[in-house]
Symmetry: C2
Subunit: 341 residues, 2 copies
């Protein structure tokens, strides 16, 4: 599919623009800056669907009161390796960044650190919090629930969420960060295929008879996205929902689905600190690099390449820092207009 990259914007210009709009919408500067950074970082790393392209929707949720700019998470329970926080419907990115920081801090002190976060909002790009963990030298695992937007395996109504899952491991070359939602394709990507008139490259959902299909329009009409790996991703989605809602004491997928808009969701964060687990960090990073090198040396099918999770993000980040971040002109103009509203 052709992507309309009509122009490029520097990371700093994008971030500063977001900061200005956020402060016009009730965010203090100290909250607007990290919030803007997390949006701009997503676009910088090549995930505009959860960066620039999602920013107008985020501001709409702020204006409608689903995201509360001045809210702060409140501690509900604490032991040395675990904390439970109520996110108080603050911006999901700020809550998630805060929660991962708490997990990092506990892991730095105790070896492991875990946070259950309830009553929070969409964290936008899940991978950001994986990069946050590896930049702090930690193995990081985090996941979220969502509203019901996929059928269970065998089911013909949305019952499970596409619950993004992140696993992140430090390596000598920055890190390895897997960021996967539980649907084979995101609804955003299927929407793009639908608009282009192209079929999906692989089965991405069900038709109304329950057959697998590559036709995005049928899938989108019914929220019939395919769990990745069929029964396996469907099962994984359920487990992530169980764990994050139970551990955080927050809402489960079916409860989130009762609301008009997706908000008050539940998340889970876990960090392991290699040195506190008695590991030599130099050896750890070297071995991670060895594992990745072995993967990348794979013989490949004609015309194919092998990548490690996060490799494309790192490449995009490097290129976009030099050349600017490609943006769809119409979306960028719409965001600039918000500055003047």
């Amino acid at each position: 599919m052709a992507v309309m990259n009509s122009r490029r914007i520097t990371y700093t210009e994008m971030k500063d623009t977001f900061v200005n709009i956020l402060t016009k919408n009730g965010f203090s500067t100290s909250k607007a800056i990290p919030c803007a950074e997390l949006f701009a970082q997503s676009s910088l790393d090549g995930v505009p669907s959860h960066g620039l392209n999602r920013f107008p929707e985020f501001i709409r949720l702020v204006k409608e009161g689903y995201v509360i700019p001045a809210a702060e998470p409140v501690l509900e329970f604490s032991i040395p390796v675990f904390e439970r926080w109520n996110g108080n419907l603050a911006a999901g990115m700020l809550n998630a960044q805060f929660a991962m920081n708490r997990a990092i801090a506990m892991a730095g002190s105790e070896g492991l650190g875990c946070v259950g976060l309830s009553n929070t909002n969409h964290w936008m790009r899940a991978g950001n919090y994986g990069w946050q963990a590896v930049e702090a030298g930690c193995i990081g695992i985090c996941f979220t629930n969502t509203l019901p937007n996929m059928p269970a395996w065998g089911g013909k109504e949305p019952k499970i969420g596409n619950n993004p899952l992140v696993l992140a491991v430090p390596s000598g070359d920055k890190g390895v960060v897997l960021d996967i939602a539980m649907s084979q394709f995101s609804y955003g990507k299927m929407g793009a295929y639908f608009r282009s008139g192209e079929a999906l490259p692989y089965d991405g959902g069900f038709d109304t008879d329950g057959n697998l299909t590559k036709r995005a329009e049928v899938i989108l009409e019914n929220n019939f996205a395919l769990p990745f790996g069929m029964w396996k991703g469907a099962g994984l989605s359920l487990m992530l929902n169980l764990i994050c809602s139970l551990v955080s004491g927050g809402k489960a997928t079916h409860e989130i689905g009762r609301e008009k808009e997706e908000h008050s969701i539940s998340q889970f964060f876990l960090c392991l600190h290699p040195e506190k687990l008695g590991l030599d960090l130099g050896e750890f990073l070297e071995k991670a690099d060895e594992i990745i090198a072995d993967l990348l040396h794979s013989d490949t099918f004609e015309g194919k390449s092998v990548f490690f999770p996060g490799q494309q993000s790192l490449k995009n980040r490097e290129e976009n820092l030099v050349n600017g971040i490609p943006v769809e002109g119409a979306i960028w103009e719409a965001v600039l207009k918000m500055l003047r509203e």
Copy 2:
């Protein structure tokens, strides 16, 4: 596919038979009993591929010195929430059960408990250790690496493992236990389809041109199993290998692949203790049941049903405890013959 269930054997008879064969092969009674229980439990729960059917292969590995009956795991590092153990090539099931018990004990005391286990052997049915966690009232997560037996996404040689992953959550009705390997179908299941002459119900691997195929014989010939969810399961497999080999200090998939037989593998165990995390256990179980009830109330496609992870195991267990465990006659006879060898 027709399964040859020529007869049924009680759980006790199966377990006692295993105990007798194990003690003839160097296992002390105190080790033979839990080892036999874990094999028999797999068959009882409807997973004979990692129960009775795998027992002769296990004894071969014992006879050839890959599994050392008298070996004991040795503690290499310990803090209140984490321990690293060297499995010393003891029976994989005993090491795994021991490691999960350590994770349960630490979680019971500290809220979280985590174990890295190196130099261990195949744990047979992964789900057993998930049931172990929920029976102890814990959320349990565990995974293992394996030899390289699947191509990376884009690759045309086995580079990643099918690394089973277990997530287990206590519920009012016993528990919810997801036990998934990273391949869409197990090699055992694909072998059964191949022998039956039937095609797989969904794409299960690649042909030699890298196209997805349902033809088991082509997949089996080249170890070209499909990672579940394609690039997503392939990425997940890599991350699990990174985490379990790095945290345990044990071998990674590519190192395991250098050996003639799969042995000296790496595993990871994590437990969370709901009450130690400040949660009311009654409310926890009730909410887990609510989430499951919502799932099971899904409207379904014609002729389909929705199950929760572990539901079929519980059903099989209940039926097989009453009626005996169905066994393939030839395999059972072969095992009985081992008693007389």
